[in-house]
């Protein structure tokens, strides 16, 4: 209660921090009226305070005692549980130890020495028994004292008996002591199953050792039987921390290492665990209470663990019990505290209630407290205070009322002004909201039933904003006021002064006669008009009135004047704003049009649309139309607006009778405020349209280009309101821009088209150059370009083919079939035919209207739906050879330019065709030449045989004539025909048919030979004058057409060469000429062969004769030599006196006989040699020889002859000549002959022999200083029976065969012999001889 305080001076008694305070709004609520406040807010505070105090005392006491008891019981229980856990661990350890001991016992039993220790079989049975009893043991072996394995028995593998394997180094053997089993470390078989080796030595320290491998998985049976609570378990860990046994066998098999767990670590570290159990965490991280018991013998640790949660479950239960008791105590103490606190607080609450009522203004109630203590005195104090408060309250209330009203008025005025300012700032573009606000505020704040704002509009004041508080009265009743001093507002505006009249009634006549109608109607008595003044002018006025006479309060007048200033400012603002915006809009419009122009350089339409749209918008027109001059009409190019469209306005005649026409023709701007008032005959067309549309103001601006008007922009308004100067100027700008843009577009399109055409022409040229042999790609390209560039649905190319026009190419964007007809007859029924016949370009604007003129083209047009057609004939060397045909599917004639382009294409087509023709002709000529050349080559390479020549001719014919069958028919000496060569099907039939035919009139062959001309049958079956033989042959072999060229030699027909085809048709002149050539060639070949045969026959005869001669010579020589030898022998005997002495005369005769006989013998020998050589009977006998010895001996042999003639015989032999390989005797004969000759023919001087070797050849020169040999004779001297001149021979003697024989011998050696000589300057015989003869050469 002490924090309560009264605040004097406040409008209402107000308590700070009072429990039952209320919201004191100044002046809004009636003082003294109690309001129901948030009573509950402080209600329980004291009560709670006491309650809490008592409660907390009791709670603390209870908690302290509870906590102490819990703590001690917890500690006791914990240590008890730990001990229990440890006990369990010890028990588990002992069970496992027992288990192991059991195994050891069994082992020991099995290891006991047998009666007969050597009987391993008994031992094996023992071991097998053990395996059966102890499933843990998988392998058991016994090793003797020396460490040799005696027996090994396994559950998993083969038993080994007496294997004598050395196991002495195994730890089990080494470590096993007598009477003390050895336990090996735990190992994991295949990294999964735990095993341990146990070894027992029996019978002294050197007794045999029994070793068993134990599968520790079986300890699972033991550990899983040990129950540790609900979730606890016992498990075994070996010395290195590996899990050996666990109820979860999987953990063991996974070879889990637990050495990192805190309790395992602790157990490993400490010998003697200080505490029986510890809190640790298991593998999963769960808090567990764990205890350890070691198995010393195995160095294992047995752990038992139990989740902490489970262990302390009971402990928690006791704590819960304690907590329950505590809560019960607390509840009881809470009730006690409640009763105590309530008794203390009740009187205080009564006081509080009273004080709250006083605070709420309930000053007429007393506080009733009867406790008889300090609280009752306090209540009395309150009651007295209430009385005093009641008195001072009434006075205060009155004063506050007055102040509030004044404040409210000024506030409202301020608010009104600021609101108008806000309206001004929020509507910068529109003055109407401002004026409306001014009117409304003025009416409200000046207690006027009616306020209005008038604005000067010419010479009247127009009310633009009115506001009436009286909703019943009509606002429309007020008429515009004349702007004159005789109306109240007029005077205010004109004088720019506030007019304030207390009663207007008496002033109607004297001062304001114009005010009477409005004032009377509205019942105006007091009036106040304030002008809206700005920079010396007045826009209008604000007017308010009352229906009772009396002045307005000064603050109201001032307020209205403020409003007037604000309104003026607002009007100014809006005017400025609108002017700025308009300028901006125009600029924007211009720039947008420029942008449209630049963004659509090829098309004028978007630009014109943009211009029309801008003009419509910026000039506030109802319709905006742009028309362009097109010949003698104006055509609408762009139109914007919402007036009804008139069809006749799409295209208008270009006359002065329309507004637009006038504008264009006169090149002037036409502007009329109201077309309806213009005389009918001035604009007959314009008026006509005006009557139908109903527009009034019109503006028409011509589009000018270089002093020529090319169009017009026209604007309409539906009302008679003239366009402003600014708008007209803007439209002119638009017109200029449009004109420039149209010009640009025209230029752009012209350039682009030109470029496209050039490109097309260039491309076609490229196609021409890239396909010199084929005209089709060129025609395709031309058709495609023509269709594209001339904007045609399709373009087709036709070429003449006899009396037809054959279709070759069609291209075009038309999706319909572009190939119209394959061939057209060249006549006047089609446009193409006629264009070709008349040699001129024909254009038909609408094919569908030309049925009578071009019936064929009309039919096609109907079928394929084309309308406009143009045909350009193609010329080559002045002769038409084809057409280009373009079609359009609408009626749209082709332009000059397009026709010119087609002409160019036509020329190009002509060039291409000519190229191809030339190319093909050249190629053909080349092929023919090649064929002729081949035939000639065949002739020259096979002179003796005609078959290859015929074959070649037939082959060439087949290729060049595209013949199906080709053949050569020969006429035999008997006049019968036989086949020389044939190519193609039906040879058998043909040959059979021909075998009995003769070269007479009934056969084509006969006919050709007789007439000596090529016979040409284009149609064998049906043609006229076809020989019967040919017809029969044709039927049998399928020949339909054939040509026959006669082969003639010296007027005699040798046969024909013919070509046949399997289709009817003539052969060309070229073909005929070519076949003739072949026939001539064949004749040459035949004659060649014949001549050669004759020559061969003759030479054979000559050869035989020559052989006979040689044979004869050889025989004869032999026959001659025998008697000659006898003659010589006997003459010698005679000469030597064998048959008696002879006188000198007889001796002289005998000498002559001997001399001539020897000469004859030499001659005969030479002839014999020669004949042997000629007969090929002479053989060289090849052997090693020395050239230097050969030369030396020869020179030595002839020395006497030289000496006899007084000649010097010299020889010079190069050193180191190689050994030769040849016929030494023959070579000696050669050298002897040459040296002999030299000596014989040389009368004085010397004979010199030079021998050398180079490049594997001997060079032997024999020089003499004889008479020399004339050049003409030099060749002859090596031939048989030739001597230089008869006289010298006669004188010198000799057979004339020596040199011939020498030459032959040298040649048989592969060497040469030659002569260098000059008459009177001696001779040199030069022999070149291979050092080593490879083989004998044929003697030539």
């Amino acid at each position: 209660m002490s924090e309560r305080e009264l605040v004097p001076g406040a409008l209402a008694p107000r308590a700070i921090d009072e429990p039952a305070g209320h919201d004191p709004i100044p002046g809004s609520a009636t003082p003294g009226v109690a309001e129901p406040g948030p009573r509950r807010r402080y209600r329980g505070r004291l009560f709670r305070k006491y309650l809490l105090l008592i409660l907390s005392l009791v709670t603390i006491a209870l908690l302290a005692s509870g906590a102490i008891s819990v703590y001690f019981s917890y500690q006791e229980n914990k240590s008890a549980l730990a001990s229990l856990q440890h006990e369990k661990a010890l028990a588990a350890a002992s069970r496992i130890e027992q288990y192991i001991e059991q195994i050891v016992k069994q082992l020991a039993y099995a290891a006991l020495p047998q009666l007969d220790a050597s009987d391993v079989e008994l031992r094996r049975i023992e071991f097998l028994k053990l395996l059966r009893q102890a499933p843990e043991v998988t392998d058991i072996a016994q090793v003797d004292a020396a460490g040799r394995e005696q027996i090994a028995v396994s559950r998993l593998g083969m038993d080994n008996i007496n294997s004598a394997k050395d196991r002495s180094q195994e730890p089990a053997v080494r470590n096993a002591k007598r009477g003390q089993p050895w336990f090996g470390p735990v190992y994991f078989k295949k990294e999964t199953e735990p095993y341990m080796t146990i070894a027992i030595r029996s019978g002294g320290d050197t007794g045999p050792v029994t070793i068993a491998d134990v599968n520790l998985k079986f300890i699972w049976d033991v550990v899983s039987r040990i129950k540790i609570g609900e979730k606890g378990k016992a498990y075994v860990v070996d010395g290195s921390g590996f899990l050996v046994a666990d109820p979860d066998i999987g953990l063991v098999l996974r070879k889990t290492n637990l050495s990192q767990l805190p309790h395992v670590k602790a157990a490993a570290g400490k010998q003697d665990p200080a505490e029986p159990a510890m809190i640790s965490s298991d593998l999963a991280g769960t808090q567990v209470l764990t205890s350890v018991a070691p198995i010393e013998s195995l160095k294992w640790n047995v752990f038992v663990e139990q989740p902490v949660a489970e262990v302390y479950e009971k402990l928690n239960a006791s704590i819960l019990r304690t907590a329950g008791l505590l809560i019960a105590g607390l509840v009881i103490s809470a009730f006690a505290a409640l009763a105590l606190a309530r008794g203390m607080v009740r009187p205080i609450r009564t006081l509080d209630e009273g004080a709250r009522r006083i605070g709420a203004g309930e000053l007429d109630q007393k506080i009733e407290v009867h406790t008889g203590d300090e609280l009752e005195a306090l209540a009395d104090q309150f009651n007295r205070m209430t009385g005093r408060l009641r008195e001072s309250y009434a006075g205060l209330e009155r004063k506050v009322d007055e102040r509030t009203r004044a404040l409210k008025n000024s506030l409202e005025q301020q608010t009104a002004i600021s609101e108008i300012l806000r309206v001004i700032s929020s509507s910068p573009t529109d003055v109407q909201p401002v004026l409306d606000a001014v009117a409304a505020r003025a009416a409200h704040l000046c207690d006027s039933p009616y306020a209005r704002v008038l604005l000067a509009d010419g010479d009247i004041l127009r009310p633009v904003a009115t506001y009436s508080i009286e909703s019943s009265r009509s606002v429309e009743a007020i008429l515009p006021t004349a702007l004159s001093r005789s109306s109240i507002n007029g005077r205010a505006v004109l004088d720019r002064e506030t007019i304030h009249i207390d009663d207007v009634l008496p002033l109607f006549d004297s001062e304001y006669p114009d005010a009477r109608p409005n004032a009377t109607a509205a019942g105006i008595r007091a009036a106040l008009a304030v002008p809206l003044v700005r920079e010396g002018a007045a826009y209008g006025s604000i007017f308010i009135f009352r229906r009772q006479p009396g002045l307005f309060a000064p603050d109201q007048v001032a307020l209205l004047e403020t409003f007037a200033r604000q309104a003026a400012i607002a009007i100014d603002n809006v005017r400025l704003f609108n002017e700025t915006r308009e300028a901006l809009e125009q600029q924007t419009a211009i720039s947008e049009i420029l942008r449209v122009i630049s963004s659509s350089p090829g098309d004028v339409r978007p630009m014109l649309n943009a211009v029309a749209e801008r003009a419509l918008k910026l000039c506030d027109a109802a319709q905006s139309t742009i028309m362009l001059v097109e010949g003698d009409v104006l055509r609408v190019a762009a139109s914007m607006g919402n007036t009804p469209t008139l069809e006749e306005r799409e295209v208008m005649p270009l006359t002065r009778g329309s507004i637009s026409g006038r504008s264009v023709v006169d090149r002037v701007v036409v502007h009329m405020e109201d077309l309806a008032t213009v005389p009918e005959d001035e604009f007959p067309v314009g008026r006509e349209i005006q009557r139908r549309i109903g527009h009034h103001a019109v503006l028409s601006v011509p589009l000018m280009r270089e002093d020529r008007s090319i169009g017009v922009i026209g604007l309409w308004r539906m009302e008679a309101r003239p366009f402003t100067e600014k708008q007209i100027a803007l439209v002119k700008t638009f017109a200029d821009q449009a004109a420039i843009a149209i010009e640009n577009v025209r230029l752009f399109n012209a350039t682009r088209e030109a470029l496209e055409q050039q490109t097309a022409v260039a491309e076609i040229l490229r196609v021409i150059s890239s396909s010199p042999t084929d005209v089709q790609p060129v025609l395709d390209a031309i058709a495609e370009r023509a269709a594209h560039l001339c904007d045609a649905a399709s373009a087709s190319m036709y070429l003449t083919d006899g009396d037809m026009l054959r279709h070759l190419a069609s291209r075009g964007p038309s999706p319909d079939p572009v190939i119209m007809v394959d061939a057209l007859p060249i006549n006047r029924d089609s446009v193409s035919g006629r264009a070709l016949l008349e040699r001129r370009t024909i254009e038909v604007d609408d094919m569908l209207a030309e049925e009578a003129e071009y019936p064929l083209s009309y039919e096609l047009a109907q079928r394929y739906g084309h309308r406009t057609v143009v045909v350009v004939p193609l010329f080559r060397e002045g002769k038409p050879f084809g057409t280009i045909l373009l079609r359009r599917q609408d009626v749209r004639p082709f332009g000059e330019r397009e026709l010119a382009l087609l002409q160019t294409f036509g020329d190009q087509a002509a060039i291409a065709l000519e190229n191809v023709r030339l190319f093909n002709e050249t190629k053909e000529a080349l092929e023919q030449q090649q064929a002729s050349g081949e035939v000639l080559a065949a002739i020259s390479s096979s002179i003796a045989d005609t078959t290859p020549v015929f074959d070649k001719i037939v082959q060439s014919c087949e290729r060049l004539f595209a013949g199906k069958q080709v053949g050569i028919t020969l006429v035999g000496d008997d006049g019968l025909l036989h086949l020389g060569a044939y190519h193609g099907p039906g040879q058998d039939v043909f040959e059979r048919l021909m075998s009995s035919l003769r070269a007479d009139d009934a056969t084509a062959t006969g006919r050709a030979i007789q007439t000596r001309t090529v016979q040409h049958f284009p149609d064998i079956e049906h043609g006229p004058d076809v020989p019967e033989g040919a017809r029969i042959g044709g039927r049998a072999t399928g020949m339909k057409a054939a040509i026959y060229a006669p082969m003639l030699w010296e007027g005699k027909g040798l046969g024909v060469i013919w070509v046949a085809r399997d289709y009817v048709g003539p052969f060309s002149d070229k073909d005929i000429a070519l076949l003739k050539t072949f026939a001539d060639q064949a004749v040459i070949a035949i004659q060649n062969a014949r001549l050669l045969r004759e020559i061969q026959e003759k030479s054979r005869q000559v050869e035989v004769a020559s052989q006979h001669k040689m044979q004869f010579l050889a025989n004869m020589s032999h026959e001659l030599r025998t008697p000659l030898n006898a003659i010589l022998g006997y003459s010698e005997l005679l000469f030597d006196g064998t048959y008696g002495s002879l006188d000198d005369r007889v001796k002289g005769v005998l000498e002559r006989v001997q001399h001539n006989g020897k000469h004859l013998l030499g001659l005969i020998n030479d002839v014999l040699d020669l004949s042997k050589m000629d007969a090929g009977q002479l053989k060289l006998s090849l052997d090693d020889y020395s050239m230097s010895a050969l030369v030396k001996s020869t020179v030595g042999g002839t020395e006497s002859l030289a000496k006899a003639k007084g000649l010097a015989l010299e020889s010079s032999i190069a050193d180191g000549l190689p050994h030769g390989w040849g016929d030494e005797r023959r070579l000696t004969q050669v050298l002897l002959n040459i040296i002999g000759n030299a000596i014989k023919f040389t009368d004085h001087g010397k004979v010199e022999v030079v021998a050398a070797a180079a490049d594997g050849k001997f060079n032997v020169d024999v020089r003499d200083t004889g008479p020399g040999i004339a050049e003409a004779d030099q060749a002859r001297i090596f031939e048989e029976f030739q001597q230089v001149d008869v006289s010298s021979t006669r004188r010198k003697g000799g057979t004339g065969l020596g040199l011939a024989i020498a030459r032959r011998i040298i040649e048989m050696h592969g060497g040469t012999i030659s002569l260098v000589s000059e008459l009177g300057a001696g001779s040199t015989f030069h022999i070149v001889l291979p050092v080593r003869v490879q083989q004998q050469k044929e003697a030539a």
Binding site: R124, T138, M158, K190, I249, L253
Partner: protein, 327 residues
């Protein structure tokens, strides 16, 4: 005050009920697909063992588990359609027996966990990257521990029939068990026995195979077991008897069918244990993390009737050792 209390009680009650409601909704029915290599006429006891294993773990078929069983009928190409059919049923786990089956299962799915049974060498067959951590989506039970088992089996035969000189090795080349043939050949050679490998591809080849054994004068038989030979065990046992061949088998089933002797882990037991794998996988374990178990228990099964028919006397110590002797 009363209102607030009511509200608090209401909220607590709602939460309690809500929790219970949710708990009841989480009961799911798992779907297991099982492909058995053989035919129901011969191998139904395997499936029964698996179902028994599931029941031991608290699964009730039809209530919280559905097991779809398909049979490969001893055919090498019987697994693929069976697996395809099962996969269409969207099982949570696939259980498949034999190496061939596991290999086929690995081909058809990489996402559905697969538990295999009776695979002699899972790592060598490419089914697992290691026994301890198979990786991938396959795990299961290996049928052999170490490589010596075939040798051990051959040894058993030799002890029963010491006069064996030529041992026929019957095997199916199409069953991906090449290494066991190699081991069998090696084992025979280790005992100085001439191995005679006889190929068999299907049931139709059995007569010819035994004909070949006769021709080669085989005097003992080792059957390399695969789904096909297991499925046709009656026929094989009969043929071995008529051909008077002492035979040793890799499956006890053969001896139950009249075969002479077998040394093998119990496949029935493995089917039962497979349920444990399924259970672990259903509880969220990844198959790749579950180690592949190797068998520890190998049963020596001897059929005295067969021995008598062959005129063989089983050594006493062997009878002592035998886990099962069929009279």
């Amino acid at each position: 005050m009363m209102d607030r209390r009511t509200l608090v009680c209401g909220i607590a009650l709602t939460m309690l009920l809500g929790t219970r409601g949710r708990a009841e909704q989480t009961q799911t029915v798992y779907r297991i697909g099982l492909v058995e290599a053989g035919a129901p006429s011969a191998n139904q006891h395997f499936v029964d063992a698996f179902m028994a294993g599931l029941r031991e773990l608290g699964y009730v078929p039809g209530k919280n588990i559905v097991v779809d069983v398909r049979w490969a009928e001893g055919q090498a190409d019987g697994f693929r359609p069976a697996l395809a059919e099962l996969i269409r049923l969207r099982p949570d786990v696939i259980v498949v027996s034999s190496t061939l089956g596991a290999v086929e299962a690995k081909k058809v799915t990489t996402s559905i966990p697969v538990v295999f049974i009776g695979v002699p060498d899972p790592v060598g067959s490419g089914l697992a990257s290691g026994l301890a951590e198979p990786g991938g989506n396959l795990t299961g039970l290996a049928r052999a521990a170490g490589d010596g088992l075939v040798g051990k089996t051959v040894q058993e035969l030799r002890e029963i029939a010491p006069g064996v000189t030529r041992m026929a090795i019957l095997w199916n080349p199409g069953a991906a068990i090449d290494e066991r043939r190699v081991q069998a050949v090696a084992a025979a050679q280790a005992f100085g026995i001439t191995p005679l490998v006889v190929e068999i591809h299907d049931r139709n080849g059995l007569q010819a195979a035994f004909g070949a054994m006769r021709k080669e004068h085989a005097n003992a038989l080792f059957v390399v077991t695969d789904p096909m030979t297991l499925a046709n065990r009656d026929e094989i046992v009969k043929l071995a008897a008529t051909n008077r061949l002492p035979a040793v088998y890799e499956f006890g089933e053969f001896v139950h069918a009249g075969g002479l002797v077998a040394y093998a882990p119990s496949i029935t037991e493995q089917f039962r244990r497979a349920a444990i794998y399924v259970d672990k996988i259903l509880h969220g374990a990844k198959p790749g993390d579950l180690p592949i178990e190797q068998p520890t228990k190998f049963e020596l099964v001897i059929n005295l009737k067969a021995a008598k028919a062959l005129g063989i006397t089983i050594p006493k110590e062997m009878l002592l050792r035998a886990d099962e002797v069929i009279q």
